[in-house]
């Protein structure tokens, strides 16, 4: 955010020639590094380093009441924190519209794809497991949507399932894994200097015109979100949807690779 005019010009010129930082392709991700279980106290956790973007996701589960419209299911709550330590433009205080959008888009991707098998989180009449997904942005360098989604799905995929015995929650010992129903990931594209690219870094994002996040599993689009003040044509949307299916194969493999079984 707020890169200098000269840097912007430099990046613009290079993009029009089809060149990105580190020789990266227009449709490729930066290096993805996932570390699972960094926070053993949490039911699940994953830290992702996507280039210089660093997001930590923690999963906690508590016993609570099911949502009123879904009395036989567990519930999911997703929150995002753009921590003031992560970027000079982030302030302390109530969540900004950006943070709320991030949390809700990641949440919709996870919810719509049934990544968590919420039916198995029902305990008894009036009681179910509530899953809290907290997205902690530790260093901002663009593309929070994909990094947070990837880390959240990886964290869930490796979460333990606490037990509820005699009104008590048991979070340690020999526990099963959180029941997973599906795997989905997201790809976020942006138009920068007239070129459509995947996975914008912070400086590209600074002057991107429009953004599109597409979450999908193997067969279906599960969530989409257009962002920023620009626009896409219907034909461009079709193409991006197609591209996201191809790309998501790699991402699902990364997630699957985090689990030994």
């Amino acid at each position: 955010m707020n890169i200098s005019t000269i840097t912007e010009q430099y990046i613009r010129e290079r993009l029009t020639k089809g060149v990105r930082e580190n020789g990266r392709g227009m449709m490729s991700f930066r290096d993805i590094n996932l570390e699972i279980g960094k926070i053993p106290n949490a039911e699940g956790s994953a830290e992702i380093n996507l280039g210089n973007t660093k997001v930590l996701v923690g999963i906690k589960m508590d016993v609570g009441e099911p949502m009123r419209d879904k009395p036989d299911e567990g519930s999911i709550m997703t929150g995002a924190e753009l921590l003031p330590l992560a970027h000079h433009s982030y302030d302390a205080g109530p969540p900004s519209a950006e943070a709320v959008e991030l949390a809700r888009v990641v949440d919709r991707g996870i919810r719509a794809a049934n990544i968590i098998d919420v039916k198995k989180l029902f305990i008894e009449e009036g009681k179910s497991w509530n899953v809290f997904i907290d997205l902690y942005v530790l260093n901002y360098d663009g593309n929070l949507f994909d990094s947070a989604t990837l880390a959240a799905v990886a964290a869930l995929y490796n979460s333990r399932m606490p037990k509820y015995e005699g009104e008590k929650v048991i979070r340690e010992g020999n526990l099963e894994k959180l029941p997973i129903g599906n795997l989905a990931t997201s790809c976020t594209y942006a138009k920068v200097a007239g070129t459509t690219v995947l996975d914008t870094d912070g400086s590209e994002e600074d002057f991107a015109d429009v953004r599109m996040t597409i979450s999908n599993d193997e067969k279906h689009v599960r969530a989409m979100q257009k962002g920023l003040g620009g626009a896409f044509t219907p034909g461009e949307v079709d193409k991006l949807v197609e591209a996201s299916f191809e790309k998501s194969k790699e991402l699902r493999k990364i997630i699957q690779g985090t689990r030994g079984d």
Partner: protein
């Protein structure tokens, strides 16, 4: 979405619960300028939705740190009245859903308003949902578009919005609340009718790439009707004057 308990059949013999065909919009009625204090305003009745939109500005952007020396900043606030839904009393003001809708709505109008004509200024768009029955963000955008046009703020297009959903395997346009609750997908979209550009697109649920494509086509087709209603709402007050004038000569 995907609530399986007591799921009603959303389509029987090709007709929806309220008798519509899959491609049929609800009744839409728009009135321009009901709020006299605003620079421009509009009231939309879209099915059972009743939504007011009002525009203030261009005016000095305050607090001062929000000013942009190169262009006007757009501020947008979408809220639902606590009495607006058929369910329990809601909380007034902004919840997380409202914050997100306000943001994506703002982005729609950032795309069309010629903001560089008003550096240092703000243009505020207020959307108040008074009664809701599904599809309020789309109806709110369609309504705010008319309010902006009525205010005379220069725009390069007049967006409309509508959502497409999926009931079982059928794509249906403009879902009401019940359909929204039990559908397999929801995709609200806003489009600039002149250039066909998509300036809002959200989706959740389950759609194949082919369904996304067809859904966008259905939305464009429905847009022809919506755009016409928007334009007629803007013309209506002047036509009345015109008739009076004709009668007097």
């Amino acid at each position: 979405m995907g609530n399986s308990a007591n799921k009603p059949e959303l389509i029987i013999d090709g007709r929806r619960l309220d008798g519509r065909t899959p491609e049929q919009l609800r009744q839409i009625k728009i009135t321009a300028n009901p709020i006299r204090n605003a620079a421009g305003s509009a009231f939309i009745e879209w099915g059972n939705n009743k939504i007011l939109a009002a525009v203030y500005g261009p005016r000095e952007a305050l607090p001062k740190h929000t000013q942009d020396p190169n262009r006007a900043v757009i501020k947008c606030r979408y809220t639902m009245a606590p009495f607006s839904s058929l369910e329990e009393h809601g909380r007034p003001g902004m919840n997380r859903r409202a914050i997100e809708i306000s943001k994506v709505t703002r982005e729609v109008f950032e795309n069309v308003i010629l903001t560089d004509l008003f550096p240092g200024n703000e243009i505020s768009i207020f959307i108040e949902v008074l009664q809701s029955d599904g599809g309020t963000r789309a109806a709110g955008i369609t309504c705010a578009s008319v309010a902006l046009a009525a205010s005379g703020i220069p725009m390069r297009d007049m967006p409309f919005a509508v959502s497409v959903g999926k009931a079982s395997d059928t794509l249906i346009i403009d879902m009401n609340k019940i359909e929204d609750n039990y559908s397999n997908a929801d995709m609200p979209v806003a489009i600039n009718p002149r250039t066909k550009e998509i300036n809002l697109l959200q989706m959740d649920g389950e759609l194949t790439p082919e369904e996304v494509h067809r859904g966008l086509e259905m939305i464009q087709k429905a847009g022809e009707t919506i755009t016409k209603i928007q334009r007629e709402a803007l013309k209506a007050p002047y036509e009345k004057v015109n008739e009076k004038y004709k009668a007097s000569i």
